[in-house]
Symmetry: C3
Subunit: 207 residues, 3 copies
């Protein structure tokens, strides 16, 4: 399906940009940029393909994805100094990447006729694990753990919207677009207006 | 085999409790609790299933496992403040989870007619990697690295007891129960009475 | 192919030595040494086999590999105090392990008739991820992120040399040996004479 491939390409490219920006904070060389960018870009989708036991991991079937990730890394290497705040760049590009990676995971699971719960979980896993690997390897606080921000919640809502739209309309492309829009809207609201869920509070704090 | 499924459910539930307690130390929201709890709960078993090349990862075949992990996370979210020491709760629940995850890994490998050495290794991997992922993602010192405590050793002994009981008695359920008992007894002894093996000492320290 | 098996054994043994040396810095006991050594030794190859969808992970097909890793850990446990600098030991043994792991990944991908780009990537992944897992779990700064040193670049050049030699000479054993030599020469030059690529510099630093 062309839409699914487009989502995969977009997710790889934008996650690669975030990985390269994190690499720039660690002051790596160009090959280091490409390494971290590729890990971030294909990490979530690789996990998705292994868990779903697809015949071939998506970037092994089509190595162009790695070229796309490398292109993103090269662009960032030569232009990141133009950004006013790399940190804000990471957060917003990551929001965009999350919003296309979630429907990509959802679409892959639907294509394998997985039950609804697995479809939602694969959306979350595809969306969250690339960025998680990036942050763990580069020793940044993972975005999924950033206190008082919605992150996994956005992926969960996006996946749920996709399932609802599939059942109501029967149109997968519409469902994937709705999924992307819901994920991005919620994440953007959380970044801009600090939308959040109540967090656990310990009394007394940290034992 | 019902015993194997029971071990899997118990391991998922108790590991989820430990993951949620770690999430409470990071003051996440409810969805964050469920995310970390699920990662901890199914991480070891997912690795086991991928390495053993089983047809389907256990929780993809039966998504109820994720519901069990989520239930554990929700319970902890609303009751963790009742604990006197969350840290002690994590250590003891983790000991319990380890003791059911090791026989679950052993049983899965035996069912695939793996050689004894792989059976023991899959017991160790299933037992240790869920907690390891939890600690790496949440930036806690991994329990497997806690100095002067037995951890991997407990899983190794549990796996060895299982192999011995299989060869001596031929009864797999008995072997799995013995494995769980041996793992827990050793881990409990290490926590309570500081049983340990000699550790590496460098002269002079840390070069 | 005997050369491929020899590369696998060498890579497992030498990576195990580096893992055990890192374990010695964390002052673990003997079983902790074996755990970290095995993780380091088979981590990269396990990832390679999962991504390439090989029928059986190499050490599951032949558990002797784990015995080799354990032997390396035991040797280090009893002899590491003889080293003048464990840190230098880790860096040089890691360079050696990288140089045999890259051709092992290349050879495995060639045997599955993968395209050139995937061959190079599997060389990089097999070479880099065992050490990366070791460093992430033990909370050391990953060697791949060490600023101003060539690491991934060495694996990339080694893989490229292998591809060139395969196309020019058609002799795989020669290509794998050339790959190992190129990887090691570049890494050694980077350690000894600080060969490096220009790194990203931010103006002003770290936003």
């Amino acid at each position: 399906m062309p839409l699914l491939a487009a989502l995969d390409y977009a997710s790889v490219f934008v996650f690669a940009l975030t990985g390269a920006l994190v690499a720039s904070r660690a002051q790596l060389d160009l090959i280091g940029f490409i390494f971290i960018a590729s890990l971030t870009a294909v990490g979530g989708g690789t996990l998705r393909d292994l868990i779903l036991n697809r015949d071939t991991v998506f970037w092994v079937a089509n190595p162009v994805y790695i070229g796309v990730a490398a292109a993103g890394a090269i662009i960032v290497f030569f232009t990141a100094h133009l950004l006013e705040s790399r940190y804000r760049g990471i957060v917003w590009l990551d929001a965009l990447a999350l919003s296309v990676a979630v429907p990509s995971g959802v679409g892959a699971a639907v294509a394998l006729r997985m039950p609804d719960s697995i479809v939602v979980i694969m959306g979350i896993a595809t969306g969250c694990f690339g960025g998680l690997m990036r942050d763990v390897v580069c020793n940044e606080v993972p975005l999924v753990l950033r206190q008082g921000e919605l992150y996994v919640t956005c992926a969960l809502c996006g996946g749920t919207v996709a399932i609802l739209l599939i059942h109501v309309t029967g149109a997968l492309p519409l469902a994937l677009l709705g999924c992307a829009a819901a994920t991005f809207a919620l994440r953007a609201g959380s970044i801009l207006w600090h939308w959040r869920l109540p967090v656990y509070k310990s009394f007394p704090p940290r034992q």
